[in-house]
Symmetry: C2
Subunit: 507 residues, 2 copies
């Protein structure tokens, strides 16, 4: 059963109680097609997203993934589902180049910064969470850490060895790919495609070069280490996600998400680890595409990345978010400076129409049958259709722009004594705040922020006083004072525009 | 070796390079006297603070503890120590009334809120961290979770059983108090004082009623459970802190802190668990006193508490912090509404003097030998003496008030063409920002906050324009416009005062 009406808690449902919403369809990477989403338990959704490895500052590529799945989560909640959103923190060191040997990323960083590995993880965990708060990404319902789930990982590895899908060699344990014919079902890769380059010593331990590590023996000097039935070691890269998603969402949970770059081998391995141990795994798989710069994937290993911390020094995180949802999660987002310029002006267009709607509401007349109300309904419907169609955010944003065209026309008409009706303006406000705000995560200065002092009312009042003074200087022909005033405002990024309705200001 | 000079990174050391600082003395609960603090490793301090059990919103009592140790940590950093600050999150359910049976707090809350226990822990973890960010409490260097350290706890329990200080009974493991004569050395309690009321079934398992649980057998229906050498169960209340502090700080770490209410049995048990297993434990023990309301301890179990979330709706978190540091950490803080009023006016006095210092600095003349410079030195010295004397924050705040008296006198003199010199004002600024700011954690609107939009410059500029308009209205005798302006400012909490130096405004 899917939910095809807005829940009672929706502000929009008060204006459009009979609005029918389409079933939600999503592109399932496992079946390779668009399918109707049906949760395993009616009214509830269990979602797992592969989170960050916390050994350096997050970059725009991470932001694309996090925002993509945040919007999906928010849309499901908007449709009335109770969503449990689990996303992990990988704080155990893993190996460079994502193969089974090489240098441990966390240890390398710790040496560089003269910190203990777990202090590195803690530092970059907070860097990540702060960045995500700025982007308006909601916190996970549960955010398990790899180092916090060693017993669960060991238990799963023990199940796999008991069932004959894993074997021990020199204190390490490997998953035996040949023992599990379904290996490859997600990525569609044939076994022969999967060979990875590995060090000779590791190759010697594996029965097959495509086998992957579940548990690694800790060499002397490896700081992160735990006791296990196979001696002292640490978990392989893939096992944590199988163990933690099953623990917090149960078997056959609804949606597993992650970046396309994780589809193979990480997600393929996750499925094999869970299902070979007898635990049916995620029912739908969703993958976001990558972020490129000059046509190349933005990634730490290529060095062509912009950290979010640096980016936020010159671009408002809300604009970054708006830019990201401007392309579909399954499309490639090309990063460019021009992109920010156009995202900024687009965001501002929506924002200004919402501000003006809020400003006009208190004096709006009762006006039954206002055509704006029907227009709002059309755009809400288009928004819902877009989001129900594999979470098509660019089309959803387009619906908000179309809404804005109608709202602006109605508000401009108001100058000629044709003020839009209260009902229509309230519906428009609900559409902006619920669809643009709650679903897309826009219009939230410092979203997710803590302790942000809200100066909106103060600044609004001061600007009223300033605009009156400006008017006063002009009427009394004190042009020098008026010019000085304009200069001071420009110095803090405020511009004033004269419209038929009087002066309006913008930041 | 202690550090008795300010480090090179201190702004104050540039003004007072020869300032000698006293040794830091602290009251050690273990030796029951004030002692000179000597870190185990020169230049480094390892500190552990017992953190919250995250099953409900934090209240003022938690704030007192967190702010107390935050200030201690900040002062040690100010003196040049590299501080590793470890504070745990107890996210495993523990039993009501802190005895070895009764209802599990986390499970009870989960049932109440229809969430899984770990979702409850996650929710209140964030509530706690957000509250602490608002209070300006710095995040721990490492913040380990109890559920994330089950193997470490099991390992420590195994060491204790091997050494004959713990025994298993029906799948639970108890520490045998009679086997460890030093038990009681922290709290000074004799064994015979320690009997606790426990359920008959648990009493039957214990060899002595004062023995305490290291591991508890999980009954059917207990959701948080792990495999162990003694069957499926969960750790006892005390063991996590011994295991996690030793893991992240090593043996014989420097300072262990916590509330006085935890001294017995929790801290007593921590010492016994570590030292009976052969690991010398914390070298200094520090305990903060309680917060009372109407003379009674504020606590969840008594129900007489004010959650911080509610309090922050009407009191600025900075004022709460200022109120808390207004009493010594080892003194009882009595909560009263009048306390906030006087904290507010005290905080404002410091804040206004700092603002005025910053405002006057750009135009300040060179003025060698300005007596204000020597006065600043005196107050800095008094501040350092107070903080070195067992972190006496009330005396440290008094030093800042004395500084303010001299700064205000110097600035008032400026109206008579006796502007204070640039050097003196810069030293005063450094004193406010370094002692009041970095050490006491004041003057940070939305301290620790993320994404707070800073409107300070905008508001400042707008107020300049507004005050010019006010002046203009007055000169041109437009009293109605001038009155309207004053009314609007009052509506947003801004008042204007005419001084000999011109109009000044305050929020």
């Amino acid at each position: 059963m899917t939910l095809t009406r807005l829940p009672d808690t929706s502000a929009l449902s008060a204006f459009f109680p009979d609005l029918e919403l389409p079933d939600i369809e999503l592109h399932d990477s496992l079946s390779r097609r668009k399918v109707i989403f049906e949760p395993g338990v009616p009214g509830k959704v269990g979602m797992y997203l592969c989170g960050p490895t916390v050994y350096s500052d997050a970059h725009l590529g991470h932001a694309k993934k996090e925002v993509a799945f945040d919007v999906i989560r928010r849309y499901l909640a908007h449709r009335g589902y109770a969503v449990r959103y689990v996303s992990n923190i990988t704080d155990v060191g893993h190996l460079q180049n994502d193969s089974d040997d090489g240098e441990d990323k966390m240890l390398a960083r710790a040496a560089l910064e003269r910190l203990e590995p777990i202090e590195v993880a803690e530092k970059y965990y907070w860097s990540f969470m702060d960045d995500m708060a700025r982007l308006g990404v909601q916190r996970p319902s549960i955010q398990p850490r790899a180092t916090g789930h060693i017993p669960e990982q060991i238990e799963l590895i023990e199940e796999l060895t008991r069932r004959g899908h894993a074997y021990e060699a020199n204190g390490s344990v490997y998953f035996e790919v040949r023992s599990w014919p379904e290996y490859g079902k997600l990525s569609g890769r044939k076994l022969d495609d999967q060979e990875e380059g590995t060090r000779e010593a590791v190759r010697g331990e594996k029965r097959d070069p495509r086998d992957f590590a579940l548990w690694k023996r800790a060499e002397a000097g490896h700081i992160m280490r735990w006791q296990s039935p196979w001696g002292v070691g640490f978990p392989g890269w893939h096992i944590e996600c199988s163990a933690m998603s099953l623990k917090y969402l149960g078997e056959s949970f609804d949606i597993h998400g992650g970046g396309l770059d994780l589809e193979f081998p990480h997600h393929e391995a996750e499925i094999a680890q869970a299902e070979a141990a007898g635990h049916p795994f995620a029912r739908y798989w969703m993958h976001n595409n990558m972020l490129t710069i000059g046509g190349e994937k933005m990634s730490k290993s290529k060095g062509n990345f912009t950290t979010l911390i640096d980016l936020f020094k010159r671009v408002d995180p809300q604009i970054v978010r708006f830019l990201l949802i401007g392309s579909h999660y399954r499309s490639i987002t090309e990063f460019s400076e021009e992109g920010f310029v156009s995202a900024h002006s687009g965001y501002r267009r929506l924002h200004d129409a919402l501000s003006e709607t809020l400003r006009r509401l208190p004096g709006a007349p009762e006006k039954p049958g206002d055509p704006l109300l029907a227009q709002v309904r059309t755009h809400v419907s288009a928004f819902e259709a877009a989001m129900s169609d594999d979470f098509n955010t660019p089309r959803a944003v387009a619906a908000l722009f179309n809404l804005t065209t109608d709202v602006n026309a109605a508000l401009a008409g108001a100058a000629h004594q044709q003020s839009p009706g209260r009902d229509a303006l309230e519906a428009a406000r609900a559409a902006y705040l619920e669809l643009g705000g709650s679903v897309l995560g826009l219009f939230a200065a410092g979203a997710g922020a803590v302790g942000a002092q809200d100066d909106t009312a103060l600044v609004g009042t001061l600007m009223d006083v300033v605009l009156e003074a400006r008017q006063h200087y002009r009427l009394s022909k004190q042009y020098a004072a008026s010019d000085a005033l304009r200069g001071k405002l420009a110095g803090v990024g405020v511009t004033v525009e004269d419209t038929r309705d009087g002066a309006r200001w913008k930041r």
